[in-house]
Amino acid sequence: MGGNITAEALDRDERRIGVYICHCGLNIADTVDVEAVANYAGTLNSVAVARDYRFMCSDPGQDLIKNDIKELNLNRVVVASCSPRMHEPTFRKACEAASLNPYLFEMANIREDCSWVHDDREVATQKAKALVRAAVARVYYNDPLEIKEIPFNPDTLVVGGGIAGIQAALEIADSEHKVYLVERDPSIGGHMIQLDKTFPTLDCSQCILTPKMAAVGAHPYIELLSYSEVEEVSGFVGAFKVKVRKKARYVDEDKCTGCGLCQEKCPWTADSEYDVGLSKRKAIYTPFAQAIPNVPVIDRDSCAYFLKGKCRACEKFCETGAIDFEQVDQFIELEVGAIILATGYDAFDPSTISQYGYGIYDNVITGLQFERLSAATGPTGGEIRLKDGRKPESVAIIHCVGSRDQNYHEYCSRVCCMYGLKVAHIVKDKTNADVYEMYIDMRCFGEGYEEFYKRVSEEGVNFIRGKVAKVTDKAVSEEEEGKLVVICEDTLLGSIIRVPVDMVVLCIALEARSDAEEVARKFIISRRADGFFLERHVKLDPVATPSDGVLIAGCCQGPKDIPDTVVQASAAAARVLAMISKGRVTLEASVSHVNEDLCIGCGRCEELCEFHAPKVGIYEKPMPVSRVNEALCKGCGACAVACPTGAISIKHFKPEQILAMVDALAET
């Protein structure tokens, strides 16, 4: 450790800056002459003390700062070490512990910005000195900022009633805090309620999900808003305001007993969404028997009364008079502290890959359609049947349909290998057909997954390594007559292979919801290039988003299986419960500030701000001026740059702070 207290600095002026240069073991010290940098820092204006130390982030390192603040009366601190993303909070806390306002601290990044990217020790040392010089110049102008807190609304909004939303809602509600669960469809359940068995344990999906659905329906702390969508979101963490559109069901929820007579009598049908087009449902319908809530909706697009003005059969037969053709959409205003988005995924439409024949050949189906065929609640009562009712004698399962393919989605959908294996198992079990899995790589990474792969192999499933090029009904041999022929290279044999089968199951990709962009805009969150919602940090903060108080769970953040979805949903719930438990929200202190004497009320800041923080209005002055809601402001600075009169500055990023840095860097 080197120390360098310059005596004359003690009484040079009122600024007393402590500078600490971190070795970071050898991460910095290997490339930068840290002692030389510390010595140099000691010569800078207003620097009272400059030291170097092996690990500034360690307890003894922090103690150095704390002791110097007290003993040397420091009123500004600079640490030159790693990225502020790593340790700025650490050192700010150390300052606070020594009763120094944390905003009087400044960090110079001499690791990522210097030692890690340079080899030449001399040049790196020069650069480290310049970065320290800039930080010292800046901290000179730093102001102490007030840290404000507001109370946190303990009610929560969960958007999406699939397994992710259900899990998150139950975990929060079980702690006796109110949850609003908004579901777009007539019932909660999501994709999971459509599945037959779940890999690798083969639990019946409905059997494990319906108890949770029923718990949601009956929970005193959950208010279920089904057939509803979020229209508008305003406010901020701890105090969101949400407008929900409750779509007209044309059925009075209070009067309906769920007897089902209306559905029985309705003469009009449409393709069943639940059965993915494999069966019909009525124009008035509950999507499936265990629907929560058990209240039907009328689908205007297939109802004869709405289309032609005649029918009303449901109304005639309803004994409680629950049918209400006059119902209109309602708008409900909610106030919540946090929001969990669990909006799920869309299944990839394989008809865009024309060579696979989906939509052309009857017996080319998607994995989701297979689930419905296999489920006891499905159109065949759980029998695996071809379109013409025959039992298949051979089935091909094609992996990576729309995944791992830059023509569609470059990412791996993570669940397809496993559901492909499950399909193989079910086909074997129920039909004893010959099964072929055409795969590129088998990805069986979860608990019990590899074991399941082995089990399915032992059941006699044939594995062919190759991406399928084509499915055709054009036979070139007698054996192929009347069959679907799957053509690919068996890359392990190094030969083209033609496999005649009766049924083809496409392991379709999971993709971002088609309206994900609109939802992201509504909740002010970002999307990744692949369309899914962007988490705050891919490894260390996968449930948060850049919008404080807006969390994400399940497949809206990226394809994942049920165990991972449940984990993420629970994590999001835990995050919300932590906020509720704390009960207050700390607001960002480095926010935008308007000098009302300079403001001309032009409103450019208001137009630009993504977070709706500035509002132009008439406040104390007779003329309109802009004012910033500090709770909404993220301190991004967009308004300050655009302000034509220079009325706006960002606290902690004032022009004199920035210009001092620039001047210091320009010095040689």
């Binding site: 023509n407 190759g466 290279e489 890359t491």
Partner: protein
């Protein structure tokens, strides 16, 4: 059994020859499954790429010369691997580094192109002879359009009709155009795909110089191969000209009412998408529009058309390599056309015309179907 060891020098040599795209391949085999060769014989494209990845390419292997660069595999490849670049690089290692022997017919063709500027080895002076009876002037400074016929129509008496029909149409429509005759060289597209990069470079430079010196700004081509290289490859060498294919230009003339198609052709016509017009350059609709403009003509689609079109077999230098009877894509394609009830198979590429004319002859189908370039059909309808 002898174990193999990855051979770094051989990996690098293919990379240096421009085949570094093999690094992206994840060996799914979709290329093999898509390749039209596997309709007639076996060609495991993926294995060749894997050999390149490990530096274990057998440069003596005849498979190296199979790829017709039709682009079907590239269009589908899930990793977007430029497979044609890999093929070209491996051939380059044979042709220019000398890793093995180049097939005889290709070697002779390369020599012809290098010395005479055309694959047939004909004299440069007679390149423009086809134009004598069509009253075509020589392109001079100020002429609006250069017509670049391609070597095949220029020298091959059987295919000359493409150039003559095109010249006839241009004259009729009053277009101010000319040819450069002896100053033109082969565009070089196919010899490049056959691995002869240096020959391509010198052909391209010679054409760019000839075009530039004569003040050419816009070039009309009959061959999608010329189109592809002029449009997509010459700019990197400093040749920036506006390039149009006859399919596009004819449609323009028809739309602008500079051509009036009045004579009926009451026939069923199928159209063969040339790989270098379709998959390589995305031009599918214009030739079909041109055909539909001919009164009486009934356009029918082949089973595999547009993006799915099956190659005639003539790309990638294959036009100069003998393909065994029974392995010719053009035979398959002709059968498809006949089965679909086509009386004429319309083409928009001189290579397609050579291959299909040959198929008609060797399969003895001359009484059932004929091969016509779209320019011929338009010329006949005026």
């Amino acid at each position: 059994m002898q174990a193999l060891t990855p051979y770094k020098d051989a990996i690098d040599i293919v990379k240096e020859a421009g085949g570094e795209a093999f690094e992206q391949c994840y060996q799914c085999g979709l290329c093999s499954g898509t390749c039209p060769w596997n309709l007639v014989t076996s060609f495991i494209v993926r294995r060749l790429i894997h050999q390149a990845q490990l530096g274990l390419v057998d440069f003596e292997d005849d498979d190296l010369w199979l790829c017709a660069t039709c682009g079907a595999c590239v269009a589908r490849c899930p990793r977007g691997v430029e497979i044609i670049d890999i093929m070209r690089a491996m051939r380059n290692v044979v042709a220019e580094v000398g890793a093995a022997k180049v097939p005889d017919s290709l070697r002779i063709t390369a020599k012809n192109i290098a010395s005479a500027g055309n694959p047939q080895g004909e004299a440069r002076e007679i390149r423009g002879n086809w134009a004598e009876e069509s009253k075509v002037k020589t392109f001079t400074e100020g002429t609006e359009l250069l017509y670049f016929s391609c070597c095949v129509p220029a020298y091959d008496p059987k295919v000359r009709r493409i150039a003559q029909a095109t010249a006839g149409i241009l004259n009729k429509a009053g277009v101010d155009f000319g040819i450069l005759g002896a100053k033109e060289s082969c565009c070089g597209e196919s010899i490049r795909k056959a691995g002869n990069e240096s020959i391509f470079q010198s052909l391209a430079n010679s054409n760019i110089q000839a075009f530039t010196e004569s003040g050419v700004s816009k070039v009309l081509v009959s061959s999608p191969h010329c189109y592809h290289t002029f449009k997509n490859e010459y700019p990197a060498l400093g040749g920036n000209f506006e390039v149009v294919h006859t399919a596009q230009y004819l449609l323009e003339l028809i739309r602008d009412q500079k051509l009036k198609l009045t004579k009926e052709l009451n026939k069923k016509v199928a159209y063969q998408d040339p790989c270098y017009l379709g998959r390589h350059n995305g031009i599918y609709d214009e030739p079909r529009e041109v055909l539909r403009s001919i009164p009486g003509l009934e356009l029918i689609e082949l089973p595999d058309s547009r993006e799915e079109s099956i190659c005639c077999g003539g790309g990638g230098g294959r036009i100069w390599i003998e393909t065994k009877k029974g392995e010719r894509f053009s035979d398959l394609r002709l059968e498809q056309a006949i089965e679909a009830g086509a009386e004429i198979l319309a083409v928009a590429c001189p290579y397609c015309m050579l291959n299909f004319d040959d198929s008609v002859l060797t399969m003895d189908k001359g009484e059932i179907i004929e091969i016509r370039d779209i320019s011929e059909l338009v010329w006949g309808a005026i």
